[in-house]
Amino acid sequence: MAYDIVLDQFSGPLDLLLHLIQKHEVDIFDIPIAKITDQYLAYLRAMEELSLEIASEFLVMAATLLAIKSRMLLPRPAKSGDDEDEDSGDPRDELVQQLVEYQRAKWAAAQLRERGVLQSQVFSRPPLDLRPYAPEAPPPVTGVTLWDLVDAFRKLMRRIPQEERVAEIQGVVLSVDDEMDKLMRRMRILQRTTFFQLVQDARTRHALVTAFLAVLELMKAGRIACRQLLAFGDIEIVLTEEAAEG
């Protein structure tokens, strides 16, 4: 038998266990723990042979299975009143409970997937531009302050997953020329700014290098000027070519 299913295919050790239970058509409420444990370990070993990293949860589950297996071999402890009740039950109980609960979650996930697919077959249309129907200028926005704006940004930054904060925006190939155009557009809006403000949306090392090179190029071309007021202070950048391109 080939263990050609990579562990990645399983969303966790419970998923792998369910797969084994299903494959061997055994009753989830009466799991042949020795057989399933062997199978489970065989999967992990196959992964090892393939030099794939095994998430620690898979190893924890292996230990749990082995513990259950060994407890199954022991004679049931005689009932002693003070002992914890759970100890006298089937050693598999807790695992079965977990499997059943997880199975329900998987069932629900499958339902959601189905609905998601169905919903993705449905299209709407962008809202109509209603400006022609409201000839006067739109009513001014009220009840919103600068701090609402900053707060919105702060919340947004918290919502973005850590690793995506440095992720590059897809499909954008960075060239120094493009970056120069972009920086100049921004400089025309800002007139003067600091280096950090100017390059603040450089989200990767690559983007930052490109931005830095672009700033150097623009300086060389005399389109911007840089100055540093304090040692180690922020570098101030001033637009110098404004008259030329407006």
Partner: protein, 189 residues
């Protein structure tokens, strides 16, 4: 009189497009009571059903909107990008399902059910605005509690959380094991 309001309703829903309109907004724009507005909505829904045309009226997350009928998706795929173009990983879907049925729920509780770390999946779902922080749990560390969002309802075509299919009973599920077969693309021995 009721009947003739389906025309104006269609016009305003068409204009609202993917924004959709709540019943209150519809009532306000058409100058009806919300009961009357609901009646007109149902009437228009019936008309679309009878006509068997290209669009229909659906209620998603408390918002009424016109959408294309799913059976025409093949023509539309050439034209438009699907609203839920980027799909969710198995892990993310599992977490989402757990949050949907067990909300409010903390990350620790999600991980207890899945038997595996779920912080990345949770983060992805928060970023996609499918789940959001809805409160804090009492107790040490006051862990964040998550719940689903209106975007969740829209993405999965649900009017409300009550539209979620009921979870099967435990014994039932044990028999349904073959529901969870791995994707058919995987080789079986």
């Amino acid at each position: 009189m009721m009947f003739s309001m389906t025309g104006p309703l269609e016009a305003v829903l068409f204009a609202a497009g993917s924004d959709g309109l709540s019943l209150v907004e519809i009532a306000d724009v058409l100058q009806l009571s919300t009961d009357e507005a609901l009646q007109v909505c149902r009437e228009l829904q019936d008309q679309y059903r009878d006509r068997n045309g290209g669009i229909e009226l659906v209620e998603l997350a408390g918002v009424w909107q016109l959408v294309t009928r799913p059976e025409h998706a093949m023509y539309l795929r050439k034209l438009a990008t699907a609203p839920t173009s980027s799909h969710l990983s198995n892990a993310a879907l599992e977490v989402l399902a757990i949050v949907a049925y067990r909300q409010p729920i903390s990350r620790i509780e999600i991980e207890a059910i899945r038997g595996v770390q779920s912080d990345r999946a949770v983060q992805t779902l928060v970023h996609r605005q499918l789940i959001a922080e809805v409160g804090r749990q009492e107790g040490p560390g006051r862990p964040i509690l998550y719940g689903t969002t209106p975007t969740f309802l829209q993405t999965f075509g649900l009017r409300s959380l009550e539209d979620l299919p009921p979870l099967p009973e435990e014994p039932e599920i044990a028999q349904d094991l073959n529901l969870f077969q791995l994707t058919p693309a995987l080789p079986r021995d």
